[in-house]
Every structure is written in C-alpha cells, then in structure tokens.
C-alpha cells in the first residue's frame, strides 16, 4: 500500500537526483518529465494502478541515478545560454 507521503518523497528524490546533471537540457527534461508524470497520475484511485505508477517511478529513479554518473564524467565545457542571467 503506497501512501501519499511516499509518493511525495519519491517525487522529491527524483527532482533532487535530476538536479545533479551538469547539462542544462537533460536537467530541465528530467524535471519536466517527473512533474508531468506525477501530475498525470495524480487522481488515480485504483490501488493496483497506484502501485504500478509508484514502481515505475522507482525504476526511473534508478535510471536517473545511473545516468547522472555518466553525465558527471563528461561535463559540458561551456555554460548553456539558458543558464546565463539576464543583465
């Protein structure tokens, strides 16, 4: 039985893991995908569907943690233009 607190903490840990990417594009993509994914399944009432979605989230968490290590091995050499503050 997955409860609301667990869902919220999974969302938070996915967002935190996604923040470690040195590349702007995949960082924003991960943030967008997690928030959209959680919002899409926000109103599920069927327990088995909730469990399924939670398991999917856990799987994605493993993927992010693995891929972050690869990206950190090859950080971009210049800052992305989207990261520059407007003067």
């Amino acid at each position: 039985m997955v409860d609301k607190g667990q869902v919220i903490s999974l969302c938070r840990s996915l967002l935190r893991a996604g923040r470690q990417y040195p590349d702007y594009n995949i960082r924003e993509y991960t943030k967008r995908m997690t928030l959209d994914g959680f919002r899409m399944n926000k109103n599920l009432t069927d327990h088995s569907k909730v469990e399924e979605a939670y398991a999917e989230g856990k799987k994605q968490m493993e993927v992010v943690e693995r891929v972050v290590k690869v990206y950190l091995a090859y950080p971009p050499k210049t800052k992305n233009i989207m990261e520059l503050k407007l003067q």
Partner: protein
C-alpha cells in the same frame, strides 16, 4: 675589507620585512567569521520568496501576499508545493530536509524557515 666580509658572513639580516600582523591571527579571524554563519534579512527573504511564488506557472500573481497559504489561498496541491520548495532551495542555495519541506505550506512559513537558517545565501 677582510674584517667586513668576515663580519657579514656571521650576520643575518632580514630582507623581507615581517608583516604588521602575524599571519596566523589574520587567518583565524577570517575563519571564525565564516564559521559563525550569517542570517539573511527577513524583508529581503520575503521579497525573494514572493517573487519566486509569483513566477510559478499556476499561480495568480495578484493573490500572492506575505500571508498566502499555498493550498487555501493560491490553489496549489501537494505536488505544486514540492515544486515551489525545490525552487526555493535553488534560489537560496541550501537543502531543505524532507520533513521540514512538508511543513512549508505558506509564504510566511517559508520566510520564517529560510530566515532562521544560517546556510541560506
């Protein structure tokens, strides 16, 4: 001449003058400043928090007030609150632990928490 050379061979003169303050005390003074940490000014924190909440996608900027509650006044749900707290973490440059983040449900709670946290920048 030989006497002069013999004398110089035994004398040692300081070429570099010693600094006015001993090096170690200067280091210690700076280190203690940084270790103590500094708390941010509350009105400054309030302005920054309000601007972040106003820029949030699903928020009506005119409803954002210092006492605004995320769920009751701004109509945000728990996922939106998570997103707002993440944005606050990024703005102020420090991590907010999960159980504290769950308690931040309004603008003034966020301001109080951040203003009382020494690691906020």
């Amino acid at each position: 001449m030989a006497a002069r050379n013999a004398l110089l061979r035994h004398l040692r003169v300081n070429v570099n003058p010693s600094p006015a303050l001993p090096f170690t005390t200067v280091l210690l003074r700076r280190f203690s400043e940084e270790v103590r940490g500094s708390f941010l000014d509350k009105s400054d924190v309030t302005d920054r928090v309000i601007s972040i909440v106003k820029n949030f996608q699903t928020v009506d900027p005119s409803k954002v007030a210092p006492k605004a509650h995320f769920h009751n006044d701004l109509g945000l749900d728990s996922l939106d609150s998570v997103e707002v707290v993440m944005a606050l973490e990024e703005e102020f440059g420090f991590e907010i632990p999960d159980n504290d983040a769950d308690k931040i449900q309004s603008v003034d709670l966020a301001v109080d928490f951040i203003a009382s946290h020494p690691q906020a920048t």
